[in-house]
Subunit: 338 residues, 2 copies
Amino acid sequence: MVEKVTSLDVARLAKVSQSAVSRVFSGASASKATIAKVRAAADQLGYRPNTLARAMITGKSRMIGLVVAYLDNQFYPVALERLSNALQAEGYHVLVFMASNATDNVEPIVQELMDYQVEGIVFASVSISSDLTERCASAGIPVVLFNRGQDGLGLSSVTSANIDGGRQVAEFFVAGGHRRIAHIAGWQGSSTGRDRALGFRQGLKAAGVPLLAEIDGMYSREAAQSAARVLMARSDPPDAIFVGNDHMAFAVMDTLRSELGLSVPNDVSVVGYDDVPLASWDAYSLTSVRQPMNRMVEATVDTLLGQIADRDRPAQKVEIAGPLIVRASARIPEGWKT
Amino acid sequence: MVEKVTSLDVARLAKVSQSAVSRVFSGASASKATIAKVRAAADQLGYRPNTLARAMITGKSRMIGLVVAYLDNQFYPVALERLSNALQAEGYHVLVFMASNATDNVEPIVQELMDYQVEGIVFASVSISSDLTERCASAGIPVVLFNRGQDGLGLSSVTSANIDGGRQVAEFFVAGGHRRIAHIAGWQGSSTGRDRALGFRQGLKAAGVPLLAEIDGMYSREAAQSAARVLMARSDPPDAIFVGNDHMAFAVMDTLRSELGLSVPNDVSVVGYDDVPLASWDAYSLTSVRQPMNRMVEATVDTLLGQIADRDRPAQKVEIAGPLIVRASARIPEGWKT
DNA sequence: AACTGATTTGCATTCGTATGCATTAAAGAG
DNA sequence: CTCTTTAATGCATACGAATGCAAATCAGTT
């Protein structure tokens, strides 16, 4: 029933040595004749090389670890899909680990990944300690942070131009005539959250418009919604809110419209960040700064595979600018709409 | 730099044999004394067993292959997360493969999975050929279909009670006084799509209400939206539409409200299937049949691990009933709202 | 036909861990 | 204190494929 076909079986049937079979399947040199014989025998037996055994000897498992935190944010499933496909195209495969929330359970996860001899690790919006960075480095495992940067530790990272993105939103609001502007920020423990907020403040400052208020939305629906309630309960409520990512922006729009009975964008303009597919759906039609997913994935794969191929290639921080996608959730300044 | 620590290194430092080290880490019998020595030496060197080498000899890779098709439907990221966590808790890990759309590329994917020596495979909403089923069987790899059934091939599957769910919706519509009822069905090439439609038609028939029209929405936003347009362009447009899953239902609501300027549920009631998180967001507030994700995942893991532990355990088809979650997208019959 | 150089091929070993078997140490019985 | 039983340990081998090395085959040259 459970017929394990090994290279030796193929060798016997094809009347060649096991080495010959190995060479045929690993693309090493072999004569036309043997290749034909081996192929025929392999097909007959349904032989396929055992990736694990191959990994043992070559030291290359052709597996990449992917650690993801927020799978309820539509951005990450999409990223996962693209990353998986891109890596598959390069002959790598993805071992997925969930780092559900708690930062402290990322350590055992990385250990397990290393036990599986992954050749590299992608952290999607997960921060890691310098200790862990050190361990990966000394194990010779390249690491790339996706959609999150981290200073100090010499780690490669791929992000969008978050500061610039924040600034674009500020300019958009100001151009739209908004003067009571608030920010429900991405988690301030993350570089993306900080950078978007920083750029936004810079943009407002440059325009001479004060920031009415800023609340950390923690990348959570609940936190964002209560932030929205706090903001709108003020005596001088904002007429424009920049929300740190789309996932929170949807929550904010829900609260503004259903709970507070306000109109978006007539009463309040809302802008998000990420431009996930859902942002374009009519129920939200969210104006948002696009994270150029394809190029981010491309850069991630390039960086990772580059470091795998050349172990002591220096870490690189890639930052990719994305445009503001204008939809209906925020007042559109004159001249922005073509 | 790349310091590979093997059990032999630990053995030397602890002054015991390599076997002793192996036994300590695989939980086999060993004296208190050696356990202590080995543990100490291992900690000092930072040793961890190589999962791949271990897999080679035991034949158990502790990896499960997961094949997913639609990652833009929120149901699947959630399923992925739950499955991954549940399997992690059992010491297994998930190798993810995308079966993006095309049915014919699922075959090479399964081959690759088998090359990695996965111990079992979960197909999430992916159908497989009898040929492929045969190959997995003869390779001794248990297979579970998640959220899809398939007749004929003796495959285990875990689904919700789709026929029953469809019937519930029919009864709900009828109780709500609807008489012009249509169905934008899930892909009729899938058991879930067929069963939901079947149950829905049965329910209507039992109530003596005719089905106005039924169109296959193919589980795609675009197809569902054009189906909605077709339905509403009739001279006798429906006043209630059962949509084969939430993902399509959102698209239908977008079209009804934004494009056709209709009110949901005043002009048309809409009910979906899955009860994904997004269904509860205020922008949609979609009435939907819940798929009991937790129990489905639990059943999937149980079935899979059961078959792994006991290779010739017969396949089982698990079907779990889920309730209709009543929200605001459909007219609520008297007495349903408590 | 004999010799040189280039390919092929097979042999033997290796990767890191688990495990059957034989051996030794410890523990219990009398 | 000896004999038996049980537990602990080490030795050697196995898992399945890749690869350095040497032997063998082939092609090409004169």
